[in-house]
């Protein structure tokens, strides 16, 4: 791939091939603090703005300052670029830019790289003054040589030192320039996005960034022998590009929320970083509480006294909020909780994706605590889920849990710009007098619905209580009241269930295997299923958005397939002679679907701290097909 000696800076015109590709996956990895993520964000955003399909996934070490040059400490992004829509992060990287050979080894050992991947690697380490580093380099080269990779040494550090004194602060912009040439990105948009990203910095910094970027571009043009333009087809409609936590925050504004109470927790916190910055402009308050319990308590107090409030959290915080969630259900106080799922139990994998909170949100409260649970599957759905959640919470006096995950939270994807509707904002607070004779829990025996009284409404004075209570909100000393009130709270879910549409099957409506998923795995599952169908297998998929209540028609849909399996990012026992089928522990959705449908639902799940890859799902599909998938 090297057209000439790396040090040569004179351009060699037309010494490269142009290979247009419809889909390409690139990774950028560095030590933490070297800015690979900024580089990747700009690259992804510009590509989206050019009209490419994009899906980005952050590669994050668990530590704030992991040791430099360590395989587990690599920080960066994967960006999958396409001519059409891109729905998941793909399988293996076709190209990787690594700031040192150790972070590269980290990705290599995780199997993140395609067999024929192109590796652009800073080669300054080969001649480093420290003999231990030179030794590590040569060991790494030996390991990499066991594969068919194309390793392209790049003098990243040496080139950057021509512009800046500290190359650690400049490599990312040099690499961005290199990638700009390599993928034939729009230079003007790149300049604009660099400026936008560092808009708070000085003119001096801006000039340095541009110089580094241009140097990277010039180096690539002079030295690389191939470029991979990914043709773009600009969308016909206006599009937005953002990550899932930004979508949750902006969706919350679109939904008319006026109060967020939270406590910092990865990977949910960036919702509050953003709203902490902009919410007041919209008349909203972002309250950082003293702990997770107080955060949900403040949200419940605010919701009770006015319009619905919300809180954002992740696994450990969800565990702490348990008692208050039960109180909100018991008192029928509207509440929206966004749970950005990460690996668990306990502190688990704070920065990594998992779908392990489903059963906890459904059954985490002692006593019967019916809640509404919705799981967006795309960045776009993160936005709209907030509007749906607030409306349901207020209409049904219910707790609504929005289950996103670390993959959605940090992933960036373009989607059609929502046409904002004033009605999404909900009605202003009505503090008119409570009509004579209406009680605080006047449960409609058919629907379980009752009218909520808000402090300030004359004639509505009552004390709301977490104790079992009757229609007047009086403490129930007669236990039969508990049966009646429990029925009312449960009935609200039955009402919602009847308003839901049956889910649509992706693929043929019948066949050998139906793959069922939920949340952020949608794109990877559908890609795997499409590949299986292309190979002649009768496989379809189904993706659930409502997990409580479940969408209708599942028994009928499942009945048209010989086998049904879920694919999830949570733990289940693989089929194993040591675990009898009767005692096999199942994926969380599989557990739920078996209970609700009495269908023998199988599952395939993984908890390796990364999004599922279509190829892995495809292998699982093959293993579940009657003939082992041998078509």
């Amino acid at each position: 791939m090297i057209a000439s000696a790396p040090a040569q800076t004179e351009r060699v015109a037309a010494a490269y091939r142009t290979v247009p590709v419809p889909l390409h996956t690139v990774e950028i990895v560095s030590d933490s603090g070297e800015g690979a993520q900024k580089c990747a964000q700009i690259f992804g955003t510009v590509s989206a703005k050019m009209g490419n399909g994009v899906w980005t996934v952050e590669i994050i070490p668990a530590e704030i300052q992991p040791p430099a040059r360590s395989p587990a400490g690599g920080s960066g992004n994967r960006i999958r670029l396409g001519t059409g829509r891109v729905t998941n992060w793909g399988d293996d990287a076709n190209l990787i830019v690594a700031f040192n050979e150790q972070v590269l080894l980290g990705r290599h050992s995780l199997g993140a790289l395609a067999a024929d991947a192109t590796i652009l690697l800073d080669d300054s380490w080969a001649t480093h003054g420290d003999p231990r580093i030179r030794e590590q380099w040569s060991q790494a080269m030996t390991e990499l040589a066991t594969r068919e990779y194309r390793v392209v040494p790049v003098p990243i550090e040496a080139e950057c030192l021509q512009v800046v004194d500290n190359a650690r602060k400049g490599k990312n912009m040099f690499v961005l320039g290199m990638l700009c040439w390599l993928y034939d990105r729009d230079v003007e948009r790149m300049h604009a996005e660099i400026h936008n990203t560092f808009r708070s910095k000085s003119e001096q910094v801006h000039a340095t960034n541009l110089a580094l970027f241009e140097r990277g571009r010039a180096w690539a043009e002079a030295n690389l022998d191939v470029r991979y333009p990914v043709p773009a087809e600009p969308a016909a409609e206006p599009m937005l590009v953002m990550n899932g936590n930004q979508a949750v925050a902006l969706g919350a504004v679109a939904a008319g929320f006026e109060l967020l109470a939270m406590y910092p927790i990865t990977p949910a916190t960036s919702v509050s970083h953003y709203l902490g910055n902009i919410f007041e402009r919209f008349g909203g308050v972002m309250h950082q509480a003293e702990d997770e319990i107080a955060a949900v308590g403040v949200a419940i107090g605010a919701s009770w006294a006015g319009r619905c409030a919300f809180t954002v959290t992740s696994g450990p915080g969800l565990a702490l909020k348990t008692e208050f969630l039960g109180l909100a259900v018991m008192t029928e106080t509207p509440l929206v909780v966004v749970d950005v799922q990460r690996g668990g139990p306990s502190t688990g994998l704070p920065t990594k994706v998992e779908q392990s909170d489903l059963l906890a949100v459904l059954f985490g409260q002692p006593g019967d605590a019916p809640k509404i649970v919705i799981a967006p599957s795309t960045i776009e759905e993160c936005f709209h889920a907030m509007v749906t959640a607030r409306r349901l919470a207020e209409t049904l006096r219910a707790v609504v849990i929005v289950l996103t995950d670390a993959n959605l939270a940090t992933g960036v994807q373009p989607f059609p710009r929502p046409q904002l509707d004033v009605a999404w904002q909900g009605a202003p607070l009505d503090l008119g007098p409570v009509p004579e004779g209406v009680r605080p829990y006047d449960w409609d025996p058919r629907t379980g619905l009752s009218r909520r009284f808000i402090p300030g409404q004359p004639g509505g004075m009552h004390t709301l209580t977490g104790l079992a209570h009757d229609e007047n909100s009086k403490v129930a000393y007669d236990p039969i009241v508990h049966q009646r009130s429990s029925t009312a709270r449960s009935r609200k879910l039955a009402v919602l269930q009847q308003m839901l549409r049956p889910p649509e099957v992706n693929g043929e409506p019948e066949g050998d295997l139906l793959v069922v998923g939920w949340g952020s795995t949608r794109g990877a599952i559908e890609e795997a299923v499409e590949r299986a169908r292309a190979a002649g297998h009768a496989v379809s998929s189904l993706h659930l958005t409502f997990l409580s209540p479940l969408e209708p028609g599942l028994v009928e849909i499942f009945g048209r397939f010989r086998r049904v399996m879920t694919v999830e990012i949570n733990y289940s026992d693989d089929p194993d002679p040591f675990v009898p089928p009767s005692h096999r522990r199942l994926g969380q959705l599989a557990f739920l679907l078996r209970a609700q449908t009495l269908v023998d639902v199988d599952c395939w799940t993984r908890v390796i701290g990364e999004p599922l890859r279509p190829a892995s799902i495809l292998r699982a599909i093959h293993s579940r097909l009657p003939d082992g998938g041998a078509a």
């Binding site: 989206a48 703005k49 206006p238 599009m239 937005l240 590009v241 902006l250 504004v253 679109a254 006026e258 109060l259 109470a261 402009r281 919209f282 008349g283 909203g284 308050v285 309250h287 509480a289 003293e290 702990d291 319990i293 107080a294 955060a295 949900v296 308590g297 403040v298 949200a299 419940i300 107090g301 605010a302 919701s303 009770w304 006294a305 006015g306 319009r307 409030a309 008692e323 208050f324 109180l327 710009r417 004033v422 904002q425 607070l429 503090l431 009284f453 402090p455 300030g456 409404q457 004359p458 509505g460 004075m461 009552h462 004390t463 709301l464 209580t465 977490g466 104790l467 009086k474 403490v475």
Partner: protein, 316 residues
């Protein structure tokens, strides 16, 4: 009396006149002789004196004997979780600064399971009145040691006597940054109780009042000596504190204490001997959280217009 309602957009004419009966909710189910009864009566008197519209008044409580308080008021009430009254009250006040917010907690609620919230509520200094009804024992769950139980007192959980010296809530509160009103009173001196509640209500900010109480069932003799010997109680008096002229004859052990003097307040609170009642500290100049966080509301149309501008930053 012109109650205001910011959400309705200004003062509304209110010709209603409220007396104590207008604030009476369910019949109190506390034990005969429980100190909670006196606080309830005093509170109903205060609300009538201040002519607070019942629908604009909110009582938030936790769990315990004293936390049944809101049920016995005819205002809006929130009887929530053990230890978690303060976050709920903070949420109410943040979202609805137009409401009068009162918080009623017991010693287990405030100083044990909810101690973290106590510390931070003092620091937020949101405009509300928080009462700690402290009878130094768990009553509802039947006789367990609380953080304020006197050392050596036997209970069901510490039958050979409590192991640790008690936590002093006044001393603790005075140690928290941004404390703005700290007072102590006693349920068996109704005139002092009433005057203290009134001073707390009139303070703008987080008013913390510890009410010393007997539990007639599990802690009947706790204040027996103080009740028999008025001189055992030192009244903190000052023009800016609680003034109860009718008590001057009975309570002659008086100390002039300027509630603006935090160092003196801390020294007094740290005294291990005797009981002191009155306003330990008051500072009206401390910033109030619901003021700091006050944000002008927007109409739905304004929000949509502004959001469209914000979305432009993400446009492709």
């Amino acid at each position: 009396m012109l109650p205001t309602c910011s959400i309705l957009g200004g003062p509304i004419e209110d010709e209603r006149v409220f007396d104590t009966a207008d604030y009476e909710g369910a019949i109190a189910r506390w034990c005969p002789g429980c100190g909670d009864h006196a606080v309830l009566t005093s509170m109903q008197r205060l609300l009538a004196a201040e002519q607070l519209a019942p629908e604009q008044t909110v009582f938030v409580s936790g769990i315990g004997c004293s936390s049944r308080f809101p049920h016995y008021m005819k205002t809006y009430g929130f009887h929530g979780l053990h230890g978690r009254a303060l976050p709920v009250a903070t949420g109410v006040k943040l979202h609805r600064p137009d409401l009068h917010v009162f918080v009623v907690m017991g010693d287990g609620d405030c100083t044990s399971i909810g101690a973290g919230h106590w510390l931070h509520a003092v620091r937020y200094n949101a405009d509300m009145t928080a009462l700690l009804l402290d009878n130094s024992i768990y009553g509802l769950t039947k006789n367990q040691t609380s953080p304020t139980t006197p050392q050596g007192h036997a209970s069901n959980t510490q039958p050979r006597g409590s192991y640790l010296p008690p936590l002093d809530p006044v001393q603790a509160t005075l140690g928290i940054s941004n404390a703005s009103f700290v007072a102590q009173t006693a349920e068996w001196i109704p005139a002092h109780l009433y005057a203290t509640l009134q001073a707390a209500y009139h303070h703008r900010g987080f008013s913390f009042v510890r009410v010393l109480q007997r539990c007639p069932v599990f802690m009947p003799t706790l204040f027996r000596d103080a009740m028999r010997t008025p001189d055992a109680i030192q009244m903190l008096v000052h023009d800016d504190g609680v003034a109860v002229p009718e008590l001057q004859k009975l309570y002659r052990n008086r100390l002039v204490h300027d509630p603006r003097d935090l160092d003196a307040a801390r020294r007094l609170a740290a005294e291990s001997e005797g009981i002191r009642l009155g306003v330990f500290f008051r500072d009206e100049t401390r910033a109030v959280y619901d003021d700091i966080r006050h944000v002008p509301r927007r109409t739905a149309e304004e929000r949509v217009r502004l959001l469209n501008e914000e979305l432009d930053a993400y446009a492709i």
